[in-house]
Structures are given as C-alpha cells and as structure tokens.
Amino acid sequence: MSQSLAPECNEVKERYDTCFLKWYSEKYLRGMGTTDNNECAALFKEYNSCLKGALKQRGIDKLLDEAREDNRENDATLMGKKK
C-alpha cells in the first residue's frame, strides 16, 4: 500500500487499510455492515493516534480546519444533489 505521510505509522496504517478493504469488499459492498464498520475501529484508533502528531507537526491540522470551514457549504451542495 502507499506509504503513510508519517513513516512511523506505516505498519499500523497497513493493518488498518487491509482491514478496511476486506470489510468494504466483503461486507459493505454486499449490503452487510451498513450500520457500522466497527471491526476496524480499534485499528483505526491506533492508526489515528499515531497520525495525529504527524498532522500537527506538519501544520496539516490547521489546513484541515480551514478547508472544513470552506467545505461546509460544498458538502451541502454535494448532498443536496442526491436528496
């Protein structure tokens, strides 16, 4: 799989990605697990806590906040299209 932007998170990212792809293809796409994707949640938590520091260090958390502000309106348009 492609690398994580934080090399120290590569290993846990790899495990999470594999879990997600399995869940997605074997359950979600078959109409199962449409209420939750809990089975990868523990891995995601571990991955996310590793990644958080890297995002902060690179200033990406701030860029994300700015983009989210900007995005709120876009989300509404994207979703509105399908309602």
């Binding site: 449409t34 990868c40 399908k82």
Partner: protein, 238 residues
C-alpha cells in the same frame, strides 16, 4: 476568475467494483503505475451513517505538485507558505451509498490555495438509462481558481488610486490590470491543461486496477500489495 472542466465517462465494470477501485487507486505503483506522483495516502476518518447507511471517508494524499518548479520558485514565500517542498496535500472526501447506487467524491488541495485552488468533484453512479448492471457512469467536474491575480490586482489597485488622484489618467492602471489578469489566467490554464492530462492517466490507472480486480478479486490485489511492500521501498518505483 474561474475555469471549469467537465467530463463524462462510462466504465465497463459494475458499480461496487468501481468504488473499490477508487479506494485502491493509489495503493501501489505495481498495481497502478499512473500513481507514481502520489507520495502518501492516509485515512483521517471513516464512518457509516446509521440512518442512511452511507459510508463517509476522508483521506489525505501527498502528491508531487502540479505546478512546475519554475513557477514555484517565482512565487513569493507568503503565497507558497514558505515551504520549499513541492508536494501538495490533497484532501479527499467521499460518500458511498450502496442502496441508492452512487458515490460522490471531492478532492481539493490544502496548501498553495493562495496560488491555485483546484477542486475536483466526481459522481459515480449506476446508469439510469439502460439496464446495464455491468457499467458505471462517472461525471468529473474540476474547478480551477487562482487568487494570485486578485491579490496583485488589489495591491496595484491601491497604488493606482493614488496615482489617479495625481494624474487623471488610467492608462497605467489598464496595463497593470491586464498583467495581473494575465498571470492569473496563465496559472489557471497551465493547471487545467496539466489536469486534463492527469484525468486521462487517472482513468487509465482506474482501469488497470479494475482489470486486476476482475482477474484476481480483492484477495489477489491484497496479496500483490503485500508482496510489493515486502520487496521494500527501494524497489518501488517513485
């Protein structure tokens, strides 16, 4: 000033497979040689909405910059964020609705937005017109916006107002405005041309992954990915 580019395409693969390929498209240069400009991919959130059953996913990709190094060097550090690295962070949000048969995605750059903002939106859907269960339609809309020219124009505008107060003549202002608009236009056009190339490549990359999925299924893809990563990053072509 804004440039918009819209294209439609139909994949001859079923909708669920196409959505899977979307998540897999940057997974490995062995699977998709057209993704060698993607340096990293991270998931920052993923959840299923209990009411709608929709899967919401947010990822961050680090890609080599669309703008040529020459352009980057010319830009003041206040606009490029003072970074010397020429990679840009891309925020990708996606929503999949398996019940209704559509996937909406959006990708936008997080840095360099002062120079150029590129927002790409895609809507993948099961075709409505014919009962073609094995096809997937995708509409792609890319919006380019350069704020650089606006900033220069603002600055020139102030100077111009002072000059105009002294000499009641707007000729210099006209050329200054043209110049600023020219800069902005060229950045947008440059990025747009590059993006059109890139859209073709990204489609080819999707097709390679789709073909692989057709041949070996997801387990085959996961196996290949594992083998590729075990061979070590040294052998992975960048």
């Amino acid at each position: 000033m804004v440039l918009t580019h819209t294209t439609s395409h139909t994949y001859s693969h079923p909708f669920p497979t196409v959505t899977l390929a979307f998540f897999l498209r940057y997974c490995s240069p062995q699977l998709n040689p057209f993704a060698s400009h993607v340096l990293s991919t991270d998931t920052i959130s993923s959840h299923v909405d209990r009411d709608t059953g929709r899967l919401h996913t947010t990822r961050i990709h680090l890609k080599k910059s669309r703008l040529p190094p020459g352009v980057m060097k010319l830009l003041p550090s206040s606009l490029t964020g003072g970074t010397t690295d020429k990679a840009s962070y891309i925020l990708e949000t996606s929503i999949v609705d398996m019940r209704e048969g559509w996937m909406a995605t959006e990708s936008r750059n997080l840095n360099f937005v002062g120079v150029l903002s590129v927002v790409e939106r895609q809507l993948y859907a099961v075709p409505k017109t014919k009962p073609a269960a094995d096809n997937t339609d995708v509409e792609t809309r890319v919006v380019f916006r350069s704020r650089l020219g606006e900033r220069i124009r603002d600055r020139l505008g102030q100077a111009q107002a002072q000059a105009e107060a002294a000499v009641n003549e707007g000729g210099g202002g006209f050329f200054a405005r043209l110049g600023a608009r020219g800069v902005q236009r060229s950045i947008e056009t440059l990025a747009s041309t590059k993006t059109q190339d890139q859209l073709g490549k990204s489609r080819e990359g999707m097709c390679m992954i789709l073909e692989r999925l057709r041949q070996t299924g997801i387990m085959g893809v996961l196996e290949l990915r594992k083998m590729a990563s075990q061979r070590g990053p040294a052998e992975v072509a960048r």
